[in-house]
Amino acid sequence: MTVLSICIPTRNRQTFAMDAVRHMLRSTRQDFEVLVADNSDNPEPLRLFAADVADSRLRVLPPEPQPLSMRANWDRLIPQTRGEWLIIIGDDDYADPEICEVIRVATAAVRLVDAIAWGRSYFSWPDARAAREVTVIPTGSHLVNVEKKDMMRKMFFWEEAKDRPGCPFGIYHGAVRRELMERIRSAFSNTYFEHGNVDYDNICKTVMMADAFVFWERPMSVFGACRASNSMGLRDQEIGRQRNATFFAENPDKFEADNFPFPIALGVTASIGHTIESFKQRYGIELKGWEENFISACAKDCETCVDRAQFETRKAGYAKAIKAWRGAAALSRFKPEFKWRPGVPKFLGTAENLLFFDMAMGDARSAAEFYDVLDAMLFPVHLLETRLTQPLRTAEAA
């Protein structure tokens, strides 16, 4: 039986996808599959790769005659999957097939669980790294039963948000039951993904529809960022402009919510704000009391800038939007500070259950190789069950 389908939508970055697949197929597990949705202009590289690998655990969906929007490429993946659980990652990311073991333990502990997430880890591919770059991973290994209402608050009320809501549950770098995806499709316009910001669109729906959530503190996947990725646009203003232009050219669906005057190009907070607002507006969800937290997140988005001029531009942009949205009084909550201190050395080591380390550790050349480094120094997946010294509280009891 296929427990897990690892889905990789890709467009014209075939070598990245191939690297991830090659590493996944090293696993001796037979209870997962890898499904690549190729949306590239040239279908040959991945077709030849799949033929060469000749592994029944790998399937490649060839490109359609015309390139699909990202949303449509994600959407066509789901009906093709065979797994009971699904995960989608980017082509420059990585996910460990051992997620199957996490699923086994989590479902044994919480019968109704249909959304599983884990600790985050981030890797910039060498071609996207400027100089020394420090990354951080959580070092805990507890399996935690997360309350739905807490995730609702984090997602829709932006509670404890940094520059984005701190809710990790969803199909992107998380595992969701296929049955949950079907319920999402039925409940929301007969499609799996609606908004161009597909990952956050799915988080909104997962939080609304899932019955029970389990979180493992230990990272099981890697968010990669290669030079050609959209995430590079968050680091470089000019690249950001180019990526946005390409994205909107390839994704003609409506992206912006009504009466939400935050230009998408401002930053990640504005972009996610539009996604959540679009979802709420489409389905008539009205909430009050989230605005202040959102404005704080806008300030934090400004504070991620490492360039003073970029900071000032972003700050002015958000200030203008906030004023137009909720009036000048709302600006009292918006007080970003330029915090970048290039002369202060970066912390390396452990603090507050986090490990800070130089991303060049182990000389990883890809997200998969980076995961190998993490895997060597994190709690072993095969001993996860031993962490369950007492039964997890079930969703029914909660």
């Binding site: 080591g349 452990t350 550790m361």
Partner: protein, 400 residues
């Protein structure tokens, strides 16, 4: 004059030694020298390496004597050749970062009396020494501490922590000792720098008694390596341990004897453990030089039980428990035998399988590592610890 002499005694493990030499030579700093004291049966391997392959004025080779020296004698002749103001010893399958000289310089500027410096150590098993799951370790903190000597003495002489290895923290092995302190030790303790076959622990005993000031840096500057041919490989298997103990005793037949009638654990081979060897050393030192041992029997019994909890198989457990029981039965007329009550064997445990971060130390599953040597592992590990430049400049503020 070099600030630091790194002593590298070696016997019949030339290939490891050569890799260690090359790793140290990669360092661009000039403020150190390395003495390689070859005690091998075949002196041609290192001689040829030094004459044909390797050329670095910071390194000197001492050729083997006509007859094999005991380890303690090989250490003794090495130290006699040291020219540095400070001296450090490592094993031929270990690694030390010569940049530790800048740490020594900092501590000397801050504390003019300092004559013993310790630091954190990474640990690494060479790929040939992993018969079962093994873990490497990287301490990630970098604070400086100045411990109270009486605390150190309590831990080492009287085993106050009751753990299977007393925490020495200071000594010439993977630490730096001012040469003037070593000369004081030589004058006071039998006209030799080293006496007991377990040279590292006997030196720790002397250093923490004689040092004027000891300063410790948590940041690692060296790697405790263990190859298949090392004595520490005995920790991986009881069979290996028994063989190593026999060889060790054979090669240390002269000089101070490990076997003491008043501490019978050291006479035993089957079921012997490193805990027993260390205890026999601290016991010898304490008895020879009049150290108060109040509390030692009780603490050693706890340490013995701690050791038994770490055994991997029923067979190893049975042998080691029997060995401890025999020792306790004979020791001091069986006076302390009742204190040794090891818990039953806990089944096949996941010893050395639990990688992760515990108490600010990263434990890594070695089978998943690509690095092959302690030198490579040190470079790997440095990515997760504060840079030397920050440590020696006393940087306090970091950004996250």
């Amino acid at each position: 004059m070099a600030n630091l002499t790194i002593c590298l005694p070696t016997r019949n493990r030339q290939s490891y030694c050569i890799q260690t030499i090359q790793a140290i030579a990669d360092c661009d700093t000039q403020d150190f020298e390395v003495i390689v004291a070859d005690n091998s049966d075949d002196g041609s391997v290192l001689r040829d390496f030094f004459s044909k392959t390797f050329s670095d004025p910071r390194f000197r080779l001492l050729a083997p004597r006509t007859e094999v020296l005991s380890m303690v004698d090989n250490w003794e002749r090495t130290l006699a050749e040291a020219k540095g103001r400070w001296v450090s010893f490592i094993g031929d399958d270990d690694f030390i970062d010569p940049h530790v000289t800048s740490l020594i310089g900092r501590y000397e500027r801050l504390h003019s009396e300092v004559d013993a410096i310790g630091w954190g150590r990474m640990s690494f098993n060479w790929p040939d020494n992993r018969p079962a799951p093994t873990l490497a370790s990287i301490p990630t903190t970098f604070q400086t501490t100045i411990p109270v000597k009486s605390d150190l003495q309590n831990r080492l002489y009287r085993w106050s922590e009751g753990k299977r290895r007393p925490a020495a923290g200071f000594g010439i092995y993977h630490g730096a000792i001012k040469r003037s302190l070593m000369e004081r030790i030589r004058r006071k303790y039998g006209g030799r720098h080293f006496e007991h076959p377990i040279v590292d622990y006997e030196n720790s005993c002397k250093v923490i008694r004689e040092a004027r000031m000891l300063v410790h840096c948590q940041r690692p500057f060296s790697v405790l390596g263990a190859c298949a041919a090392s004595n520490s490989a005995g920790t991986q298997s009881q069979t290996t341990m028994t063989a190593r103990v026999a060889t060790f005793k054979q090669e240390t037949a002269k000089g101070v004897q490990m076997e003491r009638p008043d501490f019978p654990f050291s006479r035993l081979e089957k079921g012997a453990s490193i805990t027993m060897s260390i205890a026999s050393t601290t016991w010898w030192f304490s008895k020879t030089y009049g150290i108060d041992l109040t509390g030692f029997p009780e603490n050693f019994a706890r340490a013995a039980m701690h050791e038994c909890r770490h055994l991997r198989s029923q067979e190893d457990y049975d042998l080691t428990v029997a060995c401890f029981q025999a020792g306790f039965a004979e020791w001091d007329g069986g006076r302390w035998a009742g204190l040794f009550e090891p818990p039953p064997f806990g089944g096949i445990k996941s010893v050395n399988e639990i990688s992760g971060v515990v108490m600010d130390t990263i434990y890594l599953s070695e089978s998943k590592l690509k690095v092959r040597t302690p030198g490579e592992f040190y470079k790997f590990g440095e990515h997760a610890v504060a840079p030397v430049s920050n440590v020696v400049s006393g940087t306090r503020v970091f950004s996250r």
